[in-house]
Symmetry: C2
Subunit: 341 residues, 2 copies
């Protein structure tokens, strides 16, 4: 039983204290194997610390993001390499929202024995996401654990980072891409079906909007957040940080084919960007540059610190984001329910 | 059953997509509660990224370290606050080995529902360790998981960081403190006893040797590593990184009262420093400065890349460090067994 592994390790540790035993250092072999999968991505990995230079005049940005088996993904849904890619893209998305350039990634892995054979592929996915983002894995840690757990710590640099806190009354609210794809993929899998290839790809290979974030920071965006918990939930964070209210028209949120307004408004793990910008912001220039829609979905209003969302002209009650700790059934809705359409 | 929590979360997530539900954002409330426990330690926590300044001319050092329930500790052994303190001290120890000054900590927590009530105390321990090290927690992430898992990402700064790679033939090998205490504590607990207070403290409140590491970097140390896997196992990393051999006399390793030579040589999670330095290094000055022993335990020898350890004049076969992934019984020893004494 996998639940015994950790306890067994402690017992072996204790048993080992009084005598000698031989071993090739399997954990260290594993670390070497993992980091060899990261190819040119692993610079200095294995030392106590990674040593880096932060560009002169730049601020350092740090973020950490964890992906847990059976919480963020299921093993039956996506391949080990995709699990590593996805976890890394999720962490890099925080740097994208700041308009930062990634400079390093650290990978902490907890894994049970049943995962050991697949860990090199997981690491290869981490390395691929790092390379796609123009950065490298510089260090990490491996431990035992009952479920595969990947924590990615990412470091970036920016002279003028965007934050959640700069939205001003009168700004417009925009969101990149088309939302609802990852939610539709989860809906298919949990319903016993396989999502179509494009929808599956939205879940398996999210793209951190790093170039887009830097462009937005340089072209007048006043605040930004990445859509990881769900558009409305994340906009609530932005509203709170900026001490403003946001009036959002959910009908204007571009939707992934076959998804509902509510899937697009509440689905997490999109890794698109929600941003605010003044009235002279050039949306068309963004869309020309990246070939990605940047939809005007609402307005920043003075006062309060919340989100008022409407769909079909009807005010929608608070839309929860993804809550990992929710252990009880959903509360009865106080507001009007909106049915899928 | 706690194993269902993660899967249930995914199912609820999927079920939620098609309709609205209300919620106060319990996960975000939890994050706020956790970071409020960090008191003045939480600067900017909750944003997508922490934004930091790295001192001019300094290099940035990054490291990540994970502590898992039933792998690194048991809930019955130490208090939640101690679990947080210990995990944070372990991560900071990597900065100590580099002679770096900590500038920020990020905390990623995975926890099952049974831990939620204790998470504020865990966070308070993280905050206390950060304060004791003169730094702050600047961000983090919370997710569900079956076992409490804490990943600490630490950032530090140093103009001239120490590494594992600088040992030169002719250098002496030193180790700080007295080894064997954490192993003795684990031995007591796994034998059904409670360790004495001082031994328990070595396990529950490890002290990252940050000031000592900076002093060593400034006073002629040529390489360093912190003792996290076991003295001999960690010295093997140092020998490999420096492409030298180390000749170690285990009888000269200061031992915690009541511990054996082998406990002192193989016990992990000490967070003492093992360093190399040239013949003119001033050990007495270190001991005066810190009131901590710095024992001369061996020599750096040209060639090879391993550790030759002797006890009572007898060569000791390779001493394994702690291997989280060891799932089989210990291999039969090829070398001579050394009995506890």
């Amino acid at each position: 039983m996998s639940g015994e592994d950790g306890r067994a390790s402690i017992l072996r540790h204790a048993a080992r204290i009084g005598h000698l035993e031989l071993g090739p250092g399997a954990e260290f072999d594993l670390i070497r194997e993992l980091f060899s999968q990261l190819a040119d991505g692993a610079r200095g990995a294995g030392g106590d610390c990674a040593v880096l230079e932060v560009p002169a005049d730049a601020k350092l940005l740090l973020s950490v993001d964890t992906s847990v088996e059976n919480v963020h993904f299921r093993r039956s849904w996506i391949a080990p390499r995709e699990i590593g890619y996805r976890a890394t893209a999720a962490a890099l998305s925080d740097l994208a929202a700041a308009g930062a350039t990634p400079i390093a990634i650290l990978l902490a892995v907890s894994a049970p024995p049943a995962w050991l054979g697949d860990l090199p592929a997981v690491a290869a996915g981490v390395g691929a996401a790092a390379r796609d983002a123009g950065t490298v894995v510089v260090g990490g840690d491996t431990t035992a654990g009952r479920d595969l757990t990947l924590t990615l710590a990412v470091a970036g640099a920016s002279e003028h980072p965007l934050s959640r806190a700069g939205a001003r009354p009168g700004d417009h609210v925009y969101v990149s891409g088309r939302l609802g794809g990852p939610a539709a993929a989860v809906r298919a899998w949990t319903g016993g079906a396989e999502p179509d290839a494009a929808t599956r790809e939205r879940f398996a290979h999210p793209v951190p909007r790093l170039r887009e974030g830097r462009w937005l920071a340089a072209h007048g965006a006043t605040s930004a957040i990445d859509v990881s918990d769900g558009l409305v939930a994340d906009l609530r964070h932005l509203a709170a940080a900026s001490a403003v209210s946001l009036s959002i028209d959910l009908d204007r949120v571009p939707r992934w084919p076959g998804t509902t307004v509510i899937e697009a408004a509440s689905g997490g793990e999109e890794y698109e960007l929600a941003v605010t910008a003044g009235k002279h912001f050039d949306v068309a220039a963004f869309e020309r540059e990246f070939g990605v829609p940047l939809a005007h979905v609402g307005e920043v209003v003075a006062g309060g610190a919340g989100v008022e969302a409407r769909a079909s002209g009807v005010r929608v009650a608070p839309i929860p984001g993804y809550n990992h700790f929710s252990a009880s059934p959903p509360l009865a809705p106080e507001g009007r329910d909106i049915e899928p359409r």
